[in-house]
Symmetry: C2
Subunit: 423 residues, 2 copies
């Protein structure tokens, strides 16, 4: 069910493929609903998309809107997001799907404990679903969920490959409530498939399928501070038990999770602030976005002057910030032997003015209009990290992923056009 050809349509249907929404599909033939127009010639669809919904309906233009879609080799773009549990992956996913314009929700009518999130454009699957051992099996075998032996990489590879090729799959569900493996759910190939979890880059075959990859790297200090906040303050755990649980997890984490960051196209590092001496509250954060150079369809974000080294305190005559202020850093570096660019933000925003001011000085941010980052951040001001670098860099990552996706698609369409010109 990869590239479907819509031949003609006379209706009030309006496609807004960038936002991935279909207002009405009643009389459109040959449209694959579940995959939200996956595989259509986006170049053709874009022409239709120039008519706004209201125009089409009120002016009756819908009756003459003839959609002739050509089959294209549009394949699902696959994004990997690696991080430990409790590190803000779900917030990141909400920011990402928001950039694409739709709200994400679990598959309708399915298992209420499904870990999958589907929006018009994006399907996010949780790699915990590929656990080969459930909670009891792990206990019995004395392995953690971080251990590759508790995960089925063959199935992960097969299913991600199938989705990438436009085929639906029956994916297992790991039930986080019961700790058991539930009956599988059908996943249709979306425009963008995000695989998030502990091991998206662990298996070489899966890694090869990724069009773009991100590693959320929370430093031990911050992880500890966050766990204290959540498990001690909110759940009443003792400091000792928190320390013990972190210590128990660490060897497997270091052996199986952490090494994946060398493969990531972007690593978001979350560290304690350097603006407050000896701070270990984990409230004010220094967040670094380490961006690999030479990744296809991806240009690292930069501040002021590409390729040079800059530190910038925007607080001054035009912008006044409260203690401890905000400090940015940008510069080239190497990371696991790869050439990278690093963008860093230490501190937090007091208010909107600061964000738009910062946004206006960043380049290569893949926005479609001035202030898009600020708009996105404002829209989700209640999400964790909206006032610091985690929110900012997650939002930027979302925009960059959209950019990568659109360029891959444009590239595929160019190739398809060339192919059809030859035929």
């Amino acid at each position: 069910m990869a590239a479907m050809a819509c031949t003609s349509a006379a209706s009030k249907t309006v496609f807004t493929p960038r936002l991935g929404s279909v207002k009405s599909v009643k009389s459109v033939r040959s449209v694959q609903l579940t995959s939200a127009f996956h595989g259509q010639s986006v170049a053709r669809v874009s022409q239709v998309a120039r008519f706004k919904s209201a125009d089409v309906v009120s002016k009756g233009a819908g009756r003459r809107a003839v959609v002739v879609c050509k089959a294209a080799d549009g394949k699902t773009v696959v994004i990997g997001l690696a991080a430990d549990s409790g590190c803000g992956k779900s917030t990141f996913m909400r920011r990402l799907t928001s950039v694409f314009g739709g709200a994400a929700s679990p598959p309708k009518g399915g298992n209420p404990d499904s870990n999958t999130l589907i929006s018009d454009t994006t399907t996010v699957i949780c790699l915990d679903d590929y656990h080969s051992l459930d909670r009891y099996g792990r206990k019995e075998a004395a392995v953690t969920a971080l251990d590759p032996r508790a995960n089925n990489f063959d199935l992960m590879y097969e299913q991600v490959k199938a989705l990438k090729e436009g085929k639906s799959v029956e994916k297992p569900i790991y039930n986080h409530v019961t700790g058991l493996l539930d009956a599988p759910e059908t996943i249709h190939p979306p425009k963008i498939l995000v695989i998030e979890g502990l091991h998206p880059m662990y298996d070489e075959r899966v890694r090869e399928l990724l069009d773009f990859s991100i590693y959320l790297d929370i430093s031990d200090d911050v992880k500890f501070a966050w766990k204290i906040q959540r498990d001690m303050a909110e759940r009443g755990h003792s400091l000792e038990s928190i320390k013990a649980s972190i210590a128990a997890r660490k060897p497997d984490f270091d052996a199986f999770i952490d090494p994946q960051k060398q493969y990531a196209d972007v690593v978001i590092q979350v560290l304690p602030t350097q603006l407050i001496p000896d701070d270990n509250e984990g409230k004010v954060l220094r967040v670094r976005m380490v961006m690999k150079e030479g990744v296809p369809f991806f240009e690292p974000v930069y501040l002021f002057d590409e390729g040079s080294t800059i530190s910038w305190i925007p607080c001054g005559r035009k912008l006044t910030c409260s203690y401890p202020g905000i400090k940015f850093f940008y510069g080239p570096d190497t990371y696991y032997g790869n050439e990278v660019s690093v963008l860093e933000m230490d501190g937090q925003f007091d208010k909107l003015d600061e964000l738009i001011y910062v946004e206006s000085h960043l380049s290569n941010i893949s926005t479609k209009f001035y202030g898009e980052i600020t708009q996105q951040m404002l829209k989700h001001a209640d999400f964790p990290g909206s006032n610091n670098g985690t929110g900012l860099f997650q939002t930027i990552c979302g925009l960059k992923i959209r950019g990568v996706y659109e360029r891959i698609l444009a590239n595929q369409n160019n190739a398809a056009t060339l192919e059809s010109a030859k035929a």
Copy 2:
């Protein structure tokens, strides 16, 4: 002899007042040569200046070039430059006059030991000429040249005031060779009068006459390194005698010279580099340009983002620099209770690419075309400091002074036009 009125002219004469040069003046009437068109209505002259020399000559347009200059209240713009002796004032002056386009030379046919330098636009007088005590008098009274008692501030004030009002003066000459006061020389009011020396901002009355002021602040470490270089390496003095001479000079310097920097619109600080740990060779320099905010007709130079704090290492992907590299800093600060902006350069340039790259990232530099700083620096590549911040900031100062001068003039002309419209 202030504002002279040129009534009409039919000739091939072309005025290029911005550069201060006169190609031919044969048939232009009523033009005051020595003061190089001082006091003319620049607005009028500018109209003529739109014709390029070649155009006028080849197309015969010169015959219809009728210059009708109205008297304007153009007064001499006075610039003060304070610095200790041996601190690069003369190099600075050569860079400054070069920005205005003419070569500076001592008054023709005068005392060969005159300290004055005259170019088409600029006259530079040395304040040593206002010594009231000659070398022997100072010895007798046991005062240094730094001591106000060895200087005649009344005369300095009267003569600078007269020149500013467009009146010629008979200025004494302090003969640096003989140490005596020679017979005076006539100084005509130029477009720009630079008074350079130890005390341009010491006397409040003189200070009030300054339209713009600069203080060259060489740190003790660098001064010492330079003196070692000159007096020990080149003149064979002993280290002990150099130390003694610096120590002897220091109390008066601290009492009478140094305090002037609080009044300067721009202070150029020359410090040892911070790029080489414990460097005290004085070869690699960290140079800071401290620019006062709120000075009429003067906007401080900035790097990337006005009013914020930035450090910038331009060496990276686009620019490769040899050890120890180059580092810039820019940011707001306070200096003697005044709000200032600081631009700093540490390190030195290897070659042209670096300078044009740096120039392209600076703003408010008062250039007339892209690359003017680089062109000026290249033109005088053999001057001391051409590869570091002293040369760069002296050149920028020259451009800023030109900017101040032109804006003062434009302001005067606007006032004159308003006045004549009222009449």
